[in-house]
Subunit: 353 residues, 2 copies
Amino acid sequence: MKPINPPSGINRRLMLSSLALLPALSGLSRPIPAAAQTSTEGGPLPSWNDGAAKRAILTFVRATTDPSNPGFVRPEDRIAAFDQDGTLWVEHPMYTQVVYCLERVPAVVEKQPELRDVEPFKTVLSGDREAMARLPMADLERILAATLTGMSVEEFTTEVQRWLAAARDPRWKRPYTELAYQPMLEVLRHLRDNGYRTYIVTGGGQDFVRVYAQQVYGIPPEQVVGTAGGTKFGYDTDGKPFLTKEPKLLLNNNDAGKPEGIHLMIGRRPNAAFGNSVGDREMLEWVGAGDGVRLKMLVLHDDATREYAYGPAQGLPDSKVGTFSPGLYDEAGKDGWTVISMKNDWKRIFAFE
Amino acid sequence: MKPINPPSGINRRLMLSSLALLPALSGLSRPIPAAAQTSTEGGPLPSWNDGAAKRAILTFVRATTDPSNPGFVRPEDRIAAFDQDGTLWVEHPMYTQVVYCLERVPAVVEKQPELRDVEPFKTVLSGDREAMARLPMADLERILAATLTGMSVEEFTTEVQRWLAAARDPRWKRPYTELAYQPMLEVLRHLRDNGYRTYIVTGGGQDFVRVYAQQVYGIPPEQVVGTAGGTKFGYDTDGKPFLTKEPKLLLNNNDAGKPEGIHLMIGRRPNAAFGNSVGDREMLEWVGAGDGVRLKMLVLHDDATREYAYGPAQGLPDSKVGTFSPGLYDEAGKDGWTVISMKNDWKRIFAFE
């Protein structure tokens, strides 16, 4: 294990905004009764209610795949981009990756016992969530560096796989990988069935999401664009080469970083983009500025019963995680982006319901 | 146009090593008689002579695509990586992208007349190749910054397309895009016909290669991994978003940068890799260190008559562009990499022969 250096800004906002929510965690141990609605409708989006959102998706796919339609897109050019946290799976009360980082701290300290009495590790080990929420930025960055870097890419993958197999969301008591939104899984499949390559474009860590993206979303590693740190090539004592994850930020894939990351990783403009927060604004603008038929959609979390309700758009409670601002809502209305109401547009939220 | 800042190291080696060769250009205006050999053999690699190299490719493809073979690779996991300069097309006497940068200087000066009497633009405009070869590093970086950054990604693409349509290689008097090696185009196709996704992994500029990779190699933009600079998201006066190419190096995709770039862009280890120089060593090592059947190949430029001859491996003339060192040759022999002799393994070099 290498000495821990402060990573230059790896997902600073993600970490900070999540930790600010930590005190709210304590009340979250009661399961919600499953809505248990199953669809009897045919068609490719069975978990969607009829409405503007479902129609926007079906219309887009028909227009871009019908050779006689002026909006036709050649199969090799069909690309759709999806934010992950809050768009494809649950992001409240805290991003799953941040939970991972905090829960990895005991294992890190076990390997480096000298950290036990050093901040911020001491505070995280104490379990005092209010104290954790008050940790200064430099300390939060040390947690990210210690849990996301300093190991080989294979070791990191193995650690995340192990954690995902054991960890349970406190509300639904299920693996985090089961908290993907069933209606969105149907959109991914419908687009792929119509020749689209589906990409994740996430503010979360690229290597973290890659571990489960194939299994959960059917999306291979090369189609995950995320916040990415550098790696360093080296050799082990047997001369076998390996890559070490370094505390060096290459791409902060949030806000303007999303179209920039899309250019780096895909090199062309997607035809469709899905998001749910102000961090997706520039991606939707970039996708919308292209020629031809474009699909721009935002998931609004307005279902406190079946999932969570937060905005502060539309008078929903404010949130530092996955903020959907009134300004974003206005821009959506003005520019023809479709807002998906989880409450009204989705028959069910999860596959297990 | 933004003021030109020195880019932090964008392809410094590429630029320097190419310019060092400039004096050699003057003698290169005589066309070589076409070899005009056409194959009568069947099979997927008609431009290859029978031999160890051709057999290595065919054996690899059979082993990894036959479900009853222990080396079988699932179709979704089949990935092959190709260096470009010197592996897929001609790199002598100078990398094509460096020719582009030098030939763009007059257009840059036309837009910014104040540069006319400023170094290094003054020297490049003079056409004095010996003086150009003596330009200091900081000046060379200014040429790269001025010709590869400071414009939108669409403007850059348009400029490269225009240049490629008009520019001619001085030896063959043909567009650079016709100087792809026919035997390697057949390898790309044979791999794709067998379910492999083919990637370019080049020290050249990612955005430069993306302009023609689909047309020349059948490789889409998202499968080009290259030396990459950052972009910056912004809005034009009408509020339309665009991305500007910035003089900021994100990925130096040479040497150890190749496996690092592969991890960033692909996120998994290719099964096959093709290169031709010391800059490909770490990529081949990385690919070779994976499990199962692996194909590692190096193109040796040993055909002074039909193309160029350089090493200095095997007593061939030394070269700063595309160096194939004796040490690399030894490593290939020791680790089971196959060296492709252009002279002996290839029936023809170009499609136009």
